[in-house]
Symmetry: C3
């Protein structure tokens, strides 16, 4: 208890710094507090302020949560495994310290061949067990040996799992992997350069949203599955290179992405999988040569159609990079473009929290450059003009989808302006974690008007539209959100994103039937519910006379 | 007609026995009427009372249905094939009796090579055609030869399809297969030990629900596809080992389960298929060795990840069993746990029919033991603590999901208590087959209060929540159910079960986006509809003054 | 501008002809204007009137659209590639004319090996590059050589892409392919014999519906993805035989169909894919021999279960045909059968536009014959009686589904008759492109009453049910459609079609959970919304007294 209180005090002290840092983040300028040495050890939280590391990286076991609202909820049991840097606690019933002290490498395999034979078998067939079994592996291993300054004839359980400082077992994170695989680690860290959303900051995205903490506080512990299993992606490399094979070949295959990249918010598995690209891959995958590094893949010969990795990890000018977010233009598809006129409050985009990009300028210099890199990769098979035409048609899709969303938002906002939400905001639960928001976040982070609204109204006001309005798909409280607010959430979030990815990945059925058509049909419902609410209010007005 | 009348009389006579038996079933004690001989022939309905066999097993062709409501509807044409014991009628246009009398084995193949070449080819490549083609098959065949007391150099069409007693063609059921494959048959029969739901009693589950008979009575014959194609699983082994190859190798593969185990009520195919387990299987399946019996499979070597069969057919202490239901704890996910406090009528769980488990005690001695067997199988690859943590997190998911369902049920029940269903129960169709329910079922089976309600109100009352309330997803009658009742059905049945299996199979997107998030959004709709109904009633009250 | 005006005049001149032709089309008699020569060149628009070719085939680049409403919207950029006959415009930034004039075949490969290496590699591994690499290919090539009168040692970029008349690059359409592959082309053209829907006329189906043009006119350009990507299928053979391999082997595999044949309107991929047929194919596909022409495939040996192509391209009496629509009975499942009594306006089926079949007589002589051809193909593996029983059970499914739809339509129509749509038709947007409909279509095409309604009411009336009522799933305008109209659209279109294909392809879960159950639950919503609207109107009536 003392520890928690202390944590709370520490947190309070950090608050001004959080505010400063998070509001600064929207600029590309990444604040650095510490100068880097020659080759400092790999650090997932490199160049983040110390206070920030205190709420994300510093180990607290299960005593509290992660992120700005860390004191409002305890971490959940599984988070030990999802986010070990912050939440891992050593096993109590089996003390491995003596094995570590004595470096009993032999015992790992002897015991675990009995205890958990599957992972031992996995390791036995891995590049870690046989780092020089092929000329290609040998050359990679030679490089690593040079970097780390020792001979590597076998990478052993002990090398990754033994924390020899603390004499205890550790769950390896990316920093352990990065000790040898530094290039991959460093390239992955470059995700921060292009801003959110990205993999590296997905744990932040997870824990910074007020509804996550509010749900946990209310005893809805589903977050440990639905949220944390994907959003812990940054910390551990085994999301793509599954343990205990940790294979580059596996990571190059589309299926490596799919367990997370599916569903309403990014139906990448579905849209790629059902596209001509995906179907041809499905049919001919035994002819795809995944042993080759991406840069050596010959289109049409080694791959008949592209994979997720081939397009998204292509950086530019023939180079590939070990992270797939560098060329993103529309990004996740949630942020409205600055290239449209809006009729709703999207004009000012009040609920677009500052840590995600402000409105996207599709034609910014940066985005025009990114587009040219996309064209480079499309041109492996398609004519420049076709590729350019297709990318423009994606823009058209997104522009009309955002315009439709704007019209829907206007309907909802007009209702609110006329006082017709039912029950009204005063008579329902406030916005999630409203008490925490005003304490832990700042006017800079939320924008002055929104911050003041939270402060003045204690969260008792409707929050509609990207980004903060999406809470209603994650947490239903007493009459909050109301029916029409969630209809709109489905329109601009769920269905728009289906249409986006269906179109982007050239899967017409996903684009249309899972995207645009449901948007249209949700618009039907929104118009009907608005008419119904106005009608009811009219009746009540008449009879109250 | 006479035959049917006779059947009806016979049925009436049996009623007390049905009541006794079905109400007895909820206890593990399985009533036996007949003492077994040394090795009696395989019998799918072993140890069930004679009256029971009379409504399920005894052949009536297509003249009437199956089960307690057998006289309310005729069997549908396809049921000849789905449930041959009860419903098969020999072909009239082609008399095979002479071939059977003369045991013309040669003619089967000669004719069917022309008539239905596909299945002949299938058989030619099967273990039945070549029962000694490998050392492994030879040893299995030797065992069977010993058991059946004759040499088996070929298992022939005639052996399974010729009913030499009646001199007619038969559709083989499990009992025919069990003649040779007795161990598998007997192990399968053990499904009854752990109660419903299970495969063995799926035909009963199908035909015992009043809405199935009501739909058929109203001319909705969709049941022969949607219900019967899955629920006839018990009787015929070719559901998993498809004809005419009847391959053990096929039955060991996850796809064998998937044509039934998908969809809202048990999205096993989707959740396993999109999980890391499933995706790795999908990618590496050509390296999975399905020729090995499960007990010989080396995790990590023969299978890199587990299959449906590997986890679910693991019994305990290193043993596997030829049925997958022995370790079930939460079972289908519909029955509320006894470990929670409820605010709605789930407290008393009035509509939980007695043939399915009463509330589940997750921490019962039996369930604690089952959990330890799960841990045994997880530990093939995962640490004990991780596995235990994960299973506990599944419990947490289920507890909060049932709590949310309870809150939703309370909203609906409060509406009903306030007389606000619209149209009210008096002015809409009664509960399905209400006339039959009071005639064919008993107070013991339904519980005294529910039985009396059916009797007194002739089904004109709202039935909400597990299990009987689910009718509204299967049959819409005049204004019954109403909108809000079906919203709740989707919440506690469809979405909760998606969340359950997504979580159980470690597929986060299914857990969240197909499960928990839609539960939350359905809660939005329920609250909104309740508010709407109250508002409308308020208006009407005002103007009626 | 002049050109467009001219086009409009030309169009106006054509109108009477359109009317005549489109109304004539519902009869099988296909009007021919021109007598065919000995072997005329392949012509996708063979036997269509000249005016018709003027709105579909004649190249207008991007200056206007296609079809009857061609002047109401411009073609969208991508249509250059989807529908090149009508919309392709040569590249401006790279003039290929000099290469074509000089027939510089060498340069194609030299440049494109750099520019677009993927497609060059594809071509290098194709039958076009090596038309005599196998005995089978050699014999096919010999036939073609005979037909075209020249030696074919290599089919080269130049042969398909060089338009030597215009000295410019062309996008090849089916007519280019048909120059050599005439049998396939001619068989494909026979799709017209059995009427719509078919592949050959899918571009017409796309552009003839008023909501397509209305959406484009309103700036919703999603049609270029959702509609055009599938509906351009007729013109280009690479939809099934993907470029630049153009492989028959690929076209014989189920995946070739799936990128279009999925989703609400025809969930063929899902229902076949999850059926036993599909799952066995998925598991054993490496043993399926796709190098064989369909007619040589031995069921059970070369394919253990059938593919899309095997069943649907089986014509009759052992013959296969290069188009899959010849045996269709229920077709797309949208047109009501003439074999039922209806309570709603389906009696007269007013909104069934004449170019699609009038009500289907399931027992017509033609359909009875088609059924016998289905039985021929089923009997490769199944008994006649089983196959016949199954097909009849499909009819039962469809009959009850159409009956349910009729009941739902009656509810909506009764509401309309009582003046209870809200807002009513007078106070909302009219039917899509109502202004264009009366100008470009005729009383013959629409039926006299509907035509007059459009003319008199300017589209300000409710249009409910098949076929024209489906607009609400494609375009939401101001309060049009209303909530209940779209509920009904989902019932008769989306869910009925899921149930249809689930049943037809023997996938019980799709039949039930994606089809029949949602139909039932949508019926709940329809009844509830009807009750709600009546209740509100009652209240308003009371208080207005």
């Amino acid at each position: 208890m003392k520890k928690i209180l202390l944590g709370m005090v520490a947190f309070a002290v950090m608050l001004p710094a959080i505010v400063e840092w998070t509001s600064g983040q929207s600029n590309v300028a990444w604040a650095t507090e510490q100068k880097t040495e020659e080759i400092p050890p790999p650090d997932l939280y490199k160049d983040t302020p110390a206070w920030y590391q205190a709420v994300y990286k510093d180990n607290v076991g299960l005593s509290e949560g992660s992120g700005p609202f860390t004191k409002y909820f305890k971490a959940q049991m599984l988070d030990m495994y999802w986010q070990p840097n912050r939440h891992y606690e050593p096993m109590e019933n089996l003390d491995h310290s003596i094995f570590i002290e004595q470096e009993r490498r032999d015992l790992c395999v002897i015991c675990h061949e009995e205890a958990t034979p599957g992972i031992v078998a996995d390791w036995r067939s891995s590049g870690h067990k046989h780092p020089k079994s092929t000329p290609y592996l040998s050359s990679k291993t030679a490089q690593i040996e040079k970097n780390v300054g020792r001979v590597l004839d076998e990478v052993h359980c002990f090398d990754c799992h033994a924390d020899t400082e603390k004499n205890q077992i550790r769950m390896p994170t990316g920093e352990v992997c990065g000790g040898c695989h530094r290039q991959q680690f460093d390239e992955f860290l470059r995700e921060r350069e292009v801003g959110r959303p990205n993999h590296l900051q997905s744990w932040e995205a997870n824990t910074i949203v007020p509804w996550y903490a509010e749900a946990a506080r209310r005893g809805y512990l589903y977050g440990q599955h639905g949220c944390d299993m994907c959003h812990s992606g940054a910390e551990k490399c085994d999301v793509c290179h599954t343990r205990h094979k940790f294979s580059a070949v596996e990571g190059r295959q589309p299926e490596a992405c799919m367990t997370c990249h599916m569903g309403p918010d990014h139906p990448d598995a579905e849209s790629y999988g059902e596209s001509k690209h995906g179907k041809i891959y499905e049919k001919e995958e035994e002819h795809y040569d995944f042993t080759k590094p991406l840069v050596e893949v010959r289109p049409g010969e080694d791959y008949r159609t592209p994979t997720c990795q081939y397009c998204h990890m292509y950086e530019k000018h023939g180079r590939f990079i070990h992270n797939p977010v560098m060329k993103g233009i529309w990004r996740m598809g949630t942020v409205p473009p600055s290239n449209l006129e809006y009729t709703s409050s999207l004009k000012d985009y009040p609920y677009g929290i500052k840590i995600i990009a402000d409105k996207i300028d599709i034609y910014s210099e940066e985005n025009v450059a990114k587009r040219s890199y996309w064209l480079e990769v499309c041109a492996k098979c398609h004519s420049d003009r076709f590729a350019d035409t297709y990318l423009k048609s994606l823009d058209q899709f997104m522009f009309q989808a955002h315009t439709l969303a704007d019209q829907a938002q206007k309907i909802v906002e007009d209702l609110i302006a006329d006082g017709l939400l039912y029950p009204d905001a005063a008579n329902r639960d406030p916005y999630p974690l409203s008490d925490g928001i005003v304490k832990e976040l700042s006017a800079d982070f939320l924008g002055e008007p929104v911050y003041n609204a939270f402060k003045t109204l204690q969260g008792k006001f409707p929050v509609v539209g990207p980004i903060l309005g999406v809470y209603g798909m994650f947490l239903q409280m007493q009459d909050n959100p109301s029916d029409i607010e969630n209809m709109y959430n489905r329109l601009w979030f769920w269905y728009k994103l289906q249409g986006y990815k269906g179109t982007a990945h050239a899967q017409q059925d996903v684009s249309w039937w899972w995207g645009q058509a449901p948007m249209m049909m949700e618009m039907t419902r929104i118009q009907a519910e608005a008419a119904r609410l106005r009608r009811l209010a009219g009746i009540e007005k008449t009879i109250s006379k």
